[in-house]
Amino acid sequence: MTDIKNIQKYTRKDFVSDQEVKWCAGCGDYSILSAVQNALPELETEKEKFVFVSGIGCSSRFPYYVDTFGFHGIHGRAAAIASGVKSANPRLNVWIMSGDGDSMAIGGNHFIHVLRRNMNVNYVLFNNQIYGLTKGQYSPTTPLGQVTKTSPYGTIEHPFKPGELAMGAEGTFYARGTDNNPKQMKEIFIEANKHQGTSLVEILQNCVIFNNNTHHEITDKTTRDDNQIYLKAGEKMIFGKEKNKGLVLDGLKLKVVTIGEDGYTLDDILVHDPSMEDPTMAFLLARMSLPEYPVAVGVLRAVVAPVYDQLMESQIEEVKSISKIKNMTDLMNSGHTFVL
């Protein structure tokens, strides 16, 4: 839609604001920021058309650091604010930046509704499984039993899996990345931006201060090859240091197999197709967790579906084109009027 030739060539620097970044040293948010700043120049969008909207939380400070339009909202309401921005002007490129508490605790309702409506926004969920800003209480994604400041004897709450909840809410796009893989994050953000509809990107993010190493098993460089599977459209679902492990379907379950063992060959391995309309495969992939499965990263689901803000515009255009009422004067003088 945008007239590409008119867009100047941006670099990362164009998206760095003059605000001092105030995250703890070593916080995973830094790399997410820089991956976003690296991705933005490649999105072929005028800088002034970007709007970053957030709630409250460490992660929600994000908009201050990007030199575009930004809205640091109130806790949990980023999706609602962004829905207003995008419905008001579908030509803006809107990003929601939000933490696990912001999105899935107080903001849970807006989270599922923005997905359901399929508003055309990019939604980055910083999942550090803790409330960082308020200094270490458990969040809706904190594993059952974890000791935190509000669960001195361990939590008694079963956590959400963001991807699974997104499928339950009929989300059309879901991807997962990790804060220590900037290149992959950048790729994912570019894919997310391409998708028409709500593009949910969960980043496994480390909070060094209050939940250090919570994703360690998944993200650690020494184990990640075995504990992650990077899914790419059209490619086989293969992983492992030796690239010899893969996923096959076993009834209604996924199964990890070693190629060349137990009679499994490369041909048996599933091919990833994020565009399948039926969400079941994405549901299975999103649910995979250690130790039984590797954790899936990359774009798990990206399907074409009607987009709220586009439907809103086209409905208005349609009604406009057929209505005889062209302005308030027409309207006020229509129907039952009386001249006294």
């Binding site: 908009p63 109130i74 803006l92 006020m332 006294l340």
Partner: protein, 614 residues
């Protein structure tokens, strides 16, 4: 046209239509209202629903009503007690009798007064026979039988026939009010334009009712209400909720900005959302949010994006929105929050009216966050105040709360259709492309900051709920800056009073008593004042529509009167607010906590008591 020897000219009359929700009382009411308007009467209407849930047929709890007040004189309320009551079943009669004037004309369907119906209505004997109606003028035709008789050969079933009963009554009313029945028939033809069979049946019945009235001896005299001669021009009958929606849309057209409403349905504010949802032809965007919080936050987002934005709700919804109202305030974004008040606290009496959200509007959010508050006073002037609210929001870069209520929102009155050119201009101040932009730099006169729409190159900036540094808008925890920003935000809002129209005072320049009302109490309070003035009492009257900030001349007005009495449908919120603002005056108060509008008669009485006590 009826020619009756005994035609009584009346200044004003109140007609109440009551029955089960399926009885078509709303339709007959509207038909009567429209006809009155066509004939040049001034008018006001008010529907009276029993509760949100449709109660069982024939029970008192299930009675639904529609009251019309018409006049040769100017009409300011939907009327106190009824001069004419239409009651389509015993429950409707039982429930409404106490709301009728002594000697009122009562029109019922005799056929509906059966033992079974009495049981449902929980009455012991037949009111048509037990003396209950002794002092009333009763017209009790066997409407059901008549209708079935008239339509015997029409080929439709009796259920359909029974639904025409209301038009038999309409026919009687046309006779009773000396009106040409053709007007009623024309209304039906328009209303059911796509259902010619319905037009045919109802027309037959209306005529039958008229004929019945001509012949029956119960009608000793008929009424004539002459046209109101003060009102001239093109009018329409409009409810407060519709007028609010249209006022917002007119403001949008005037400002050149598209309109966005983020809202969640809630009685009695839902109509505003429903009305706006209809007008896609004018580019209106309605976002039916998942809750009130998303409603206002989406509107804040739309406002940030450069649209004219509003959110609509009622009391409990305003509570839910209060955190976000603070966000709109600190980000200094234009936003209109329409609150159609209803009976509280909590879910309270959701279909009833009250003015109990004033203090919530003034104070219902954390921190120092003074927000302009405007209150409408009649169904029709909801248009103007909605328009004004948007004008102030946009030109002063602030959220504005507009208070209306169930009485205004659901009530209707004649509204003079304005010329769009005559409405005030609305001029948003947007940042220009590629010019230096500071988010918290201010217009020296209004102190409004400049609005920078995403999409404006060079105006990239960040706003948010944290305190910001003056001019530059960086996050700031500096104590002195906070004090300064707090003062600036307040001063900006206080300066809005500079552009108010003069506060109108009716009656004497100086007098024994100044009657004060605000918002929807105006109609009754003004009418009561008028009564006293006509009696030659030393009174004056003023009504507040601009609640915060108050008009600057307020203390100058107050000091000219010996006594001040403040009337409101709550436990004394406005009066408490006035005491806090102008403690130098002594205020008397009249409050009513019945979730019902004031009656002119009760106010007249109270004011007289005050004057006599002196």
């Amino acid at each position: 046209m009826a020619t009756n020897n005994n035609v009584i000219e009346r200044e004003r009359l109140v007609i109440k239509f009551a029955g089960d929700s399926g009885d078509g009382m709303q339709l007959t009411g509207t038909q009567f209202t429209d006809t009155s308007a066509l004939l040049g009467n001034d008018l006001a209407t008010f529907p009276d629903f029993p509760s949100e849930i449709r109660a069982p047929q024939g029970t008192i709890a299930g009675v639904s009503g529609y009251q019309v007040h018409i006049g040769h004189a100017n009409i300011y309320t939907s009327g106190d007690k009824a001069d004419v009551l239409v009651a389509l079943n015993p429950a409707a009669l039982a429930y409404n009798l106490k709301h009728c004037k002594p000697g009122a004309t009562i029109i019922v369907d005799r056929d509906a007064f059966t033992e079974k119906a009495f049981k449902k209505a929980k009455i012991d004997s037949n009111p048509l026979e037990d003396g209950t109606l002794e002092h009333y003028n009763v017209i009790a035709p066997p409407v059901t039988t008549q209708c079935r008789e008239v339509l015997r050969d029409s080929g439709v079933d009796s259920k359909t026939i029974d639904k025409t009963r209301n038009q038999f009554i309409a026919g009687i009313l046309f006779y009773l009010f000396n009106r040409d029945p053709q007007l009623g028939i024309d209304f039906l033809a328009k209303k059911f334009a796509k259902k010619p069979k319905l037009v045919e049946l109802n027309t037959l019945i209306l005529k039958a009712g008229y004929t019945y009235a001509e012949n029956v001896e119960a009608i000793h005299s008929t009424y004539l209400i002459n046209p109101n001669i003060e009102k001239k021009g093109k009018f329409r009958n409009i409810t407060g909720n519709q007028a609010t929606a249209w006022g917002l849309m007119a403001a949008s057209e005037k400002s050149g900005l598209n309109f966005f409403l983020g809202s969640y349905p809630i009685t009695p504010a839902t109509d505003i959302l429903m009305e706006l949802a209809k007008h896609k032809e004018l580019g209106v965007k309605t976002f039916q949010a998942e809750d009130e919080i998303a409603g206002i936050n989406s509107a804040i987002g739309a406002s940030y994006a450069g649209l004219m934005a509003a959110t609509s709700t009622s009391g409990p919804g305003l509570s839910l929105k209060s955190e976000a109202v603070g966000l709109a305030f600190i980000t200094e974004l234009p936003l209109v929050i329409v609150n159609v008040m209803r009976g509280g606290p909590s879910t309270g009496l959701p279909t009833k009216t009250e003015q109990t959200d004033l203090m919530q509007a003034l104070w219902g959010r954390n921190g120092e966050a003074p927000i302009p508050i405007i209150a409408a006073s009649s169904p029709a002037d909801c248009f103007n105040y909605a328009f004004m609210a948007e004008k102030i929001a946009i030109e002063h870069m602030t959220p504005v709360i507009l208070l209306t209520d169930s009485y205004l929102g659901n009530g209707s009155g004649l509204w003079k259709i304005p010329n769009m050119e005559d409405l005030p201009t609305i001029t948003p101040r947007f940042a220009k492309a590629n010019e230096p932009y500071e988010p918290y730099a201010r217009d020296p006169e209004t102190l409004a900051r400049t609005w920078a729409k995403p999409g404006t190159p060079g105006a990239e900036h960040r706003v948010g709920g944290l305190e910001k540094s003056d001019v530059h808008g960086a996050v700031s925890h500096d104590p002195i800056n906070h004090e300064k920003m707090t003062a600036l935000r307040k001063e900006k809002v206080m300066r809005i009073a500079n552009s108010y129209p003069a506060q109108e005072v009716f009656g004497k320049e100086e007098a024994d008593l100044l009657v004060v009302s605000w918002g929807s109490s105006k109609g009754a309070a003004y009418s009561a004042f008028k009564n006293l003035e006509e009696e030659g009492k030393s009174v004056a009257f003023t009504n507040f529509n601009f609640i915060f900030p108050l008009p600057k001349e307020t203390p100058d007005i107050f000091k000219r009167y010996k006594e001040i009495v403040v009337c409101e449908l709550n436990d004394g919120q406005f009066v408490k607010y006035l005491r806090g603002e102008y403690p130098e005056f002594n205020y008397l108060q009249v409050n009513k906590m019945q979730a019902q509008p004031f009656m002119v008669s009760e106010l007249t009485e109270k004011f007289n008591e005050i004057l006599e006590a002196k």
